[in-house]
Symmetry: C2
Subunit: 223 residues, 2 copies
């Protein structure tokens, strides 16, 4: 019978409470898996190597995750929980506000290179229809583009953006610039200021689609 806990809710593994020791181990396995998937991709990652880097055996790892695919899915699900949902959790005051939060997200990505590189690698691999993350990434881009387009559309209707703005196209373009810049950054982090590059792009974009102002206001929070 199936004794793995991969699908359960956080902290639900024991009657003892939400912070049982096993959850800490599980979390550390997920963290290690991120780095391994980033370096090796899915297919060439090894459960034994991942387990070793955490300090457990392969058998110990397989108590927490049914198998390799289950580990991958768990990593992706946690990643989505961590920021895609939190990014859209509260609505946006304006398109400018949305762009500012995109910049903050990119800035965050420079501070977690493992996760960022993992997404670069998996997004490339997952174009194969049989890849375990194929459906995940298709859904992810679809959802991301749709929500971003909705946010822009709301800004059109509020009068912030020009009425002739093609929101769906702009949304997908913004995502493309983020991904493409992320690829260049991962290859040469020391010579690519990802946040600065995206800001330059969003500045000109905002100037082109905004009804009034010609540039974004200066960034308050991020970097």
């Amino acid at each position: 019978m199936d004794r793995t806990n991969s699908g359960r809710l956080p902290g639900a593994s024991k009657a003892r409470g939400p912070y049982a020791v096993g959850d800490e181990r599980r979390r550390r396995i997920l963290d290690a898996a991120v780095d391994h998937f980033a370096q090796w991709g899915f297919h060439a990652s090894s459960l034994a190597r991942i387990a070793k880097s955490v300090g457990v055996t392969q058998g110990g790892l397989l108590h927490h995750f049914r198998g390799k695919e289950d580990l991958l899915v768990s990593v992706l699900e946690r990643s989505e929980e961590q920021d895609a949902e939190s990014f859209f959790a509260t609505g946006f005051d304006s398109a400018a506000d949305c762009f500012q939060r995109l910049l903050a997200l990119v800035d965050l990505n420079t501070r977690r290179p493992g996760r960022t590189r993992m997404f670069n690698v998996l997004a490339g691999e997952a174009s194969e229809p049989g890849h375990p993350a194929h459906a995940f990434f298709r859904r992810r881009y679809d959802t991301l583009a749709t929500r971003l387009a909705e946010t822009l559309q709301a800004a059109v209707e509020s009068g912030e953006l020009r009425p002739d703005t093609d929101c769906a196209t702009v949304a997908r373009e913004v995502i493309a610039v983020m991904d493409g810049t992320q690829l260049q950054w991962a290859l040469a982090p020391e010579s690519v200021d990802m946040t600065h590059r995206l800001r330059t792009y969003l500045d000109r974009l905002y100037g082109a689609v905004s009804a009034g102002a010609t540039a974004l206001p200066p960034t308050p929070g991020a970097a």
Copy 2:
């Protein structure tokens, strides 16, 4: 002694002439390798599987290529010969001409999905400094961005583009949009018109940086 021919010039393997039969085999191995690297990445690709898909044994494959890394390098070198160099082979009349040829290149990429997906996957993997293609991709992006920036700079000096154009930044942004769009296309080729998307982007970009005209002239050749 080293009897592999991986570094030789095309058609130089025999005294018989440039089209000896072995070269055809070699070419078919390279073609197969592209598809395997696209699906599995470098690490998880298997020489035995590649050989089998060509119809030779692993031993037969290893006559032509010293090993897996050598096969990868040969694939990348041939790819560069095929279009990065030919893309810049003849100079550009103008920035508009350069953009038109970029569109033709993207259009070509939709018609060779294997090669395009391989680049998506390897560009992601190669961010790891120890990856066999790491140096290749760093050099590639550097060269590409530099040459593109030079082309734009020439257009600034000819008066086609605005004098305040930041050519280096624009060049890297164009590359990012191409790569990012390519990722989205690979995941959902049936719903992403890569050429159209890039054209929309380049149109607005050209309008923003050109000194006179506000849009690219309609595409003559491509798509």
